[in-house]
Symmetry: C2
Subunit: 192 residues, 2 copies
């Protein structure tokens, strides 16, 4: 039976953690406990030896696109990453799976709304080389992220899970991920 | 003939400018000069009266998804927006159109690589409520953005256009957009 478990693409910046394989194993084990196969987009299995950076990046991107096409749903870590918003590669992946009509779920380990975070960003002073300005609108729909992201989750039948965690473990805490697994289970049904 | 011009979805945070309609008209006029129909995702034509914020956001998101499905290609403004990376809604849209197999092009009005920008972000001090940490890897593939975004443009047959512009007009300068139109024209062919 196990080869027919629904496959969940595990999107998020955890691939940049010091031990990204361990982070992936944790998520895959939790997915398995819910009857799913977790698909973690780490390039460890790719042979990048001898490739220049252009070819390396393209090999990884093509592999990740292929993995997504073979998954039944996506759970994304939407935690703010190097700015007001989530990791941009993760946002790309949410859109990718949404266009394919697969359920997309998401969690953030920061609870403030997008609008509140954008105001905090400005309060620190807008850095050089950023498109934000004092006269640029801050979207305020009481969502955790830009409406395209948040609504894609809602259209999937889910809701973005927000969890308050201690500083420094925003990429590590998996309570929100666990809640997303439960949401997917209600949509797809579990495995064995 | 004009009803058969290829339709280009115009993605970017210009929708948050003080006069977003004017920004859209400028881009649509430039697209038309290249033989394209520009599709600008502004919710001005939507009737949001009487809707609560939940329904407003969902109405806008559903409309934008519908517009994308009816476009032949996408040009995205990848300029950093409220952080190291581009606007997250725009990243979602790049992924959405990429999954549909439509060409995606992009430009940034900040020339520094993603990696250099991430280092500058850390040098200012990582703010509270951000997933970045000193021990988290900074991807460095000499690209303007996360590899999923940059490679989607490359897979489309294009390359991210980077333009150095004066501070404060990062969302206004359209030289990079013009270059993307030329790239799309080489892919799709122009209109009349």
């Amino acid at each position: 039976m196990s080869e027919h478990r629904p496959r969940i693409y595990l999107a998020g910046p955890e691939v940049f953690l010091p031990d990204p394989l361990a982070a992936g194993r944790r998520k895959c084990a939790m997915a398995a406990a819910h009857g799913f196969e977790g698909i973690y987009p780490l390039d460890a299995s790719l042979d990048l030896a001898g490739l220049d950076v252009t070819a390396q990046a393209q090999t990884i991107a093509a592999a990740n696109e292929g993995l997504m096409r073979n998954c039944d749903a996506l759970i994304a870590n939407l935690t703010p990453f190097r700015g007001v918003s989530m990791d941009s590669g993760t946002a790309f992946e949410v859109g990718f799976m949404r266009a394919l009509g697969r359920p997309v779920l998401g969690y953030s380990n920061v609870v403030a709304d997008y609008a509140a975070r954008a105001q905090m960003f400005r309060a620190r002073g807008i850095p050089t080389g950023d498109g934000d300005r004092a006269d640029v609108e801050i979207e305020n729909f009481a969502r955790a992220e830009n409406l395209m992201i948040a609504c894609a989750v809602e259209f999937s039948g889910g809701s973005v899970v927000r969890t308050r965690v201690d500083a420094g473990i925003e990429l590590d805490d998996l309570a929100g991920f666990e809640a997303c697994l439960a949401q997917v289970k209600a949509m797809l049904g579990g495995g064995a």
